[in-house]
């Protein structure tokens, strides 16, 4: 068979990009590390925007009968705050870490489908921008992140149509990314990296990808049904024609409860990496942590109706879902004990990553306990739709996920940027954030039990809610201050700090630290061969007869310098096509809002993008 038949000459209108440096390369890159960075920067930008929205919310609630925002503006802002933090910050920030770290941690050169990876990123970013363009095109979504119909389907402004379309687009990005990363973990592990030698972060990554693969299609259908109701007058959720708004609630929470674990498990993975390194002990009960993570994944699909206790499902359904909800606390509790067991008797170093991780565990426990009170149906009747719920999920999602993600940022910053974030500034940030966080969300328990309902844009002074609201507002501004401290720290570090004296600054345990900082494009010169959990640690340390650690002499832990040898390694060539295919999707979405011509144009662009992609060999000549 002739070579010519199988390898045709590159062809097409656009010349294949080859540059891996320069500003253009960021648009064509298919390197998992660069894509990870793109995810990280974009997610952080959305974090700032979502945070500013939170500050507006708190400013509005700082005094009774406030008129800073009117009810309509308030609705848009709290809805966008929720959507931003969930879909445009925590999910992509987790994707950033998964993208950057999973291939390095399992000893691979890239993800299974590098171009699909780029496609996922661009679709996410464009989907986020699409959602935000609603502010300028007639108003942002205003029906809450849960978008309950018939309120959301009958609202006369365009916002909730943007909501349906925007979330369909970002959901598509997450689905593609999830399949890609799941296959990467299953199929791209280095020799010897069996499933039960994988770092827990990779395990949690795998569980999250499976949750995404199975949860996202459900919300996609619900969103399409909402879109049809809003745009073309169908009756899916229209009670006047026999439709059942409760169908939306079921489909939404079927997705959105697994989504809660999609948000928190990445942070659990990061915590499980940080605690052993800074306690200088292996993770206590590795198998338990892994299996409880898997159990959380499975049970997470069986608890959705606990968001609907008050809608009248009947005593049998409420009891059943109360029980499953209480059960899911068990694997979560197992993890907490494992983390405490890891620290117990350890040689603990309280560097910033460790502070963040311990803070995350402590705050998550508070949120977890208030969560258990929701599992008790009669108690939930009192709490549902009050600030008590707001307090609960911010303790798990901010307290757990955001602290955990910041821990990951401090822990892996040297790996990614070859500089170490300033420890003093980091500690200052941690303490301000911890205090600010508790001041913001602690009082919300009291407010909620005192009768303050969610999503109300203001409250009368006579209710006696003013004091704790003011405390909460002060706390929110402290969180903002701590974020500012982080930004200053990051900028200062990148400007002034010199390279790393030691490429393994934390004396870490896992494979990503065996390469240089930052890793070369090809990650590993030689694909590592893995012999145990905490492979890197075992390359550095052995035990003497009394069980004391002794450093293995240099050589075993050394990695060759990154220069020179990489030339022989062929990497997939950058490509424009993922970006082109991605651009078509928001075009279709704008078309749905404004013109069928635009739908056609967008579909054409996407099809052309995929065609070009299929015709192009992964590696150029």
């Amino acid at each position: 068979m002739a070579t010519a038949a199988s390898v045709p000459a590159p062809r097409g209108i656009i010349r294949r990009p080859t540059a891996t440096t320069g500003w253009l390369s960021w648009f064509t890159t298919i390197d998992h590390k660069k894509i990870g960075l793109l995810y990280g920067f974009s997610a952080f930008a959305f974090f700032i925007i979502g945070g500013l929205e939170a500050l507006l919310i708190r400013a509005q609630l700082a005094k009774p009968d406030n008129t800073l925002l009117n009810a309509d503006q308030y609705n848009q802002i709290f809805t966008m705050h929720g959507l931003t933090m969930i879909f445009l910050f925590v999910m992509p920030m987790s994707a950033a870490f998964f993208n950057y770290m999973i291939p390095l941690m399992i000893g691979a050169r890239d993800v299974a489908f590098p171009r699909l990876n780029a496609f996922s990123y661009w679709v996410f970013l464009l989907g986020g921008l699409f959602l935000y363009s609603s502010w300028f095109l007639g108003g942002a979504p205003n029906g809450g992140w849960f978008g309950y119909p018939p309120n959301s389907t009958t609202d006369p402004t365009i916002g909730m149509t943007f909501y349906a379309l925007g979330l369909i687009i970002t959901g598509l990005a997450s689905s593609a990314g999830a399949i890609n990363l799941a296959v990467t973990v299953v199929n791209m592990r280095a020799p010897g990296m069996t499933l039960f030698r994988m770092p827990v972060f990779v395990w949690m990554g795998l569980v999250v990808q499976f949750l995404l693969v199975f949860a996202l299609p459900i919300i996609t259908v619900a969103l399409f049904e909402m879109l049809f109701d809003r745009r073309w007058g169908t009756h899916f959720f229209d009670p006047t024609a026999g439709g059942r708004p409760l169908l939306w609630q079921n489909l939404f929470w079927l997705f959105a409860h697994p989504e809660v674990y999609i948000l928190i498990l990445p942070a659990f993975g990061i915590i499980s990496e940080i605690l052993p390194v800074f306690s200088r002990k292996p993770l206590f009960g590795y198998q338990f942590v892994v299996f409880s993570g898997i159990a959380i994944g499975f049970i997470g699909f069986g608890v959705w109706a606990h968001h609907m206790f008050a809608v009248g499902l009947g005593p049998v359904a409420n009891t059943a879902f109360g029980i499953t909800t209480a059960i899911i606390a068990v694997p979560t509790g197992i993890k907490i004990f494992n983390w405490m067991g890891t620290m117990y008797g350890g040689d603990i170093h309280f560097d910033t990553p460790m502070l963040m991780a311990v803070g995350a565990v402590a705050m998550f426990v508070i949120g977890g306990l208030s969560g258990v009170t929701h599992a008790v149906v009669p108690s939930d009747y009192q709490q549902t739709d009050t600030y008590y719920v707001v307090a609960h999920f911010h303790y798990v999602l901010f307290g757990g996920a955001v602290f955990g993600l910041f821990g990951g940022v401090f822990y892996w910053w040297p790996k990614i940027f070859a500089r170490q974030l300033d420890e003093r500034w980091g500690k200052v940030q941690f303490w301000i954030m911890l205090i600010g966080f508790n001041l913001t969300f602690g009082p919300m328990h009291i407010l909620g039990l005192g009768g303050m309902i969610r999503r109300e844009y203001t409250y009368p002074a006579s209710l006696g809610l003013t004091f704790w609201n003011q405390v909460s507002t002060v706390g929110a501004y402290l969180i903002a201050l701590s974020t500012l401290v982080f930004v200053v720290n990051a900028v200062k570090t990148q400007r002034t700090a010199k390279g790393l004296a030691n490429e393994d600054p934390w004396d870490a345990r896992t494979l990503e630290w065996t390469t240089s900082c930052p890793p070369p494009v090809y990650n590993f010169e030689e694909i590592p061969v893995v012999h145990s959990i905490d492979e890197f640690w075992h390359r550095k340390y052995a035990e003497d007869k009394e069980g004391r650690l002794i450093r293995v002499p240099a050589g075993a832990s050394d990695h060759a310098a990154a220069d020179g040898h990489g030339g022989a390694i062929h990497l997939p060539t950058p490509s424009f096509w993922p970006l082109i295919a991605a651009v078509g999707l928001p075009t279709i979405a704008y078309g749905v809002l404004y013109s069928w011509w635009l739908v056609g144009a967008g579909a054409l662009v996407t099809v052309i993008g995929f065609m070009g992609w299929a015709m192009e060999p992964p590696v150029a000549e």
């Binding site: 299974a112 489908f113 459900i218 169908l247 079921n250 079927l254 699909f301 022989a568 992964p618």
Partner: protein
């Protein structure tokens, strides 16, 4: 150039072209004759379905038979045309996770609505 193997993008395609491995995986795929036989069975079952739907059997029995026939057709396509019967069990595991998951979850949703009560 060994390292290149580590890249798999679309390279299922390239990678699978190793004759020895492919040969092993491929020659157990059914023959054209067997495919046609399955196709004929599918056509007969579909004709049976249509015939049953016109019959005047009691409602419950009718639905039971129709679901049974659909399930058999579903199984034939998945097991033979999609080769799950001959392929690595891990593919089946992925698919069953999705299929069984969908059946269970949505059955519960319908139960919550008491959709089968009346």
């Amino acid at each position: 150039m060994r390292q290149l193997d580590e890249f798999h993008e679309e390279a299922g395609a390239r990678g699978m072209s190793d004759p020895s491995e492919v040969g092993h995986a491929r020659h157990i795929h059914p023959s054209a004759k067997e495919y046609v036989r399955i196709g004929v069975i599918l056509v007969i079952l579909t004709a049976l379905e249509v015939w049953v739907s016109y019959s005047s059997l009691p409602h419950g029995l009718l639905i039971g038979i129709l679901f049974f026939l659909a399930f058999v057709k579903f199984g034939l396509v998945v097991l033979w045309f999609m080769h799950l019967r001959f392929d690595d069990a891990r593919y089946s595991r992925f698919f069953i996770m999705g299929f069984a998951g969908a059946c269970i979850l949505f059955l519960v949703v319908l139960l919550l609505f008491k959709a089968f009560a009346g």
